[in-house]
Subunit: 289 residues, 2 copies
Amino acid sequence: MVTAHSVPSDSGLRAGGGRAPVGLVAGRGDFPIEMCEAARRAGVPGLAVIGMHGETDPAISGLADSLDWVYVGQLRRSIAALKRRGVEEVIFAGQVRPGRLFKGLRPDWTALRLLCRLKERNAESIFSAIGAEFQRCGLRVLPSTTFMEEALAPTGLLGRVRPGQAVREDIDFGVRIAREIGRLNIGQTVVVKRGTVVAVEAFEGTDKAIRRAGEIAHGGVTVVKVAKPGHDLRFDVPCVGMRTVESLRLAGARALVLHAGRTLLLRRERVLAACDAARIAVIGVEIGE
Amino acid sequence: MVTAHSVPSDSGLRAGGGRAPVGLVAGRGDFPIEMCEAARRAGVPGLAVIGMHGETDPAISGLADSLDWVYVGQLRRSIAALKRRGVEEVIFAGQVRPGRLFKGLRPDWTALRLLCRLKERNAESIFSAIGAEFQRCGLRVLPSTTFMEEALAPTGLLGRVRPGQAVREDIDFGVRIAREIGRLNIGQTVVVKRGTVVAVEAFEGTDKAIRRAGEIAHGGVTVVKVAKPGHDLRFDVPCVGMRTVESLRLAGARALVLHAGRTLLLRRERVLAACDAARIAVIGVEIGE
């Protein structure tokens, strides 16, 4: 998908004669870090990163050509910083803590206006409004999977642990329920055990939903994470990494099911080795739209 | 609905010449206690209660004509006890802790066979199998709302607090989502705030879902509890009481929405007074099938 990034010939030159840097709005965890590394490998001309106080790992400074810090909700300031850096294309990578919408958000007027216009405030409605605002300011938003093709979960058994018959039934059941939960714009993750929906992720985030399910069901759960039908890959791409594995381990999970081609599996080697060690099956599942 | 209880003339006489006692399988909380009181007021000839260790309030002994204790999952033993007491009609009142399905369940062979036959294990599938087993043994299961018509939530504003415009929008939104969650056999309760689904109840139970939502959203939530479309009123009737109010208070809730005619409002005067004091609007909403 490096083609998706190739800069239009009429806009690809900056004052200094170089190509425009790519902007990166960086949330929590490993995703923005891996995105920087992948973009570097793909030969991007420069990386202008927006870091968010309390969310973005400061280690990203070693990978960015420029780094501007904002508070979550400072939309106008983020856009202005990116424009100042000469950015024309932006990627969003990494979540902010979901609870930010209710506490610790410092919306500027642009963000406030945007939030007030929304009747329903879910990941999709909020991000699609943010995307529209960026585009309106001349910043094209690229899919979060740009440069990250290798991290997309493939189909089939990804680790060494094979699921037994009961777990295979839970996988089918969980995928069906997770799709419905996605369709309703509630969340991406459900946790099931022997035909029972133990936990549904809404606004608490994936890790808390997994850990809660572990407590209720006393282990043996299957965790299913999917993209919603028609998911806009520019925002909120389902993503699992080492933090997910730690939650799975604590919850005594038997299986982790990922939407093939639509879920990013970060730190893949480490994740799969840790799942193997904890006897957790990791499976990529094809899901029709 | 006392008519629903009237005993068929050919089976209404016991060896001693009296009418058959009504059986009550009693779960947690106030519901079984109120059911006993309501049945007494309706003049039932006798109350044969099945209490469940660790679930049923022992205070029920003062209201029962006979009381047999079982462990959750002892289906054969419950049925045998009721038959021995001469029962022909049974009512289920009060939940068992949802987590019992995974821990602390002591299924006998009858219960194990029943659970193993089920592909999906949710309240509906489990209770409908239990109901079938009771009927097979000659015990007719009456709706949990029998004798309890007065406790059914009516339509409209039930307390003194009126919801504002934002809360009214959340009520419409929450009802729509709660119905879908019910339709999928996941749970009865959702918690929303300003167009965001903050929490969905799955297997953790209503109170935990409410308290979690309060922590995530920092108050201002609307809690919606509904019966699923086509809900079998013999089992798992949505029910709120003082424990719910305590959770609402802790969560800083603005509104409690009940499915009119399908939700039991227990200890009504106390519940409404406590909600008034905590500035929580209580609303019964008509919902089509």
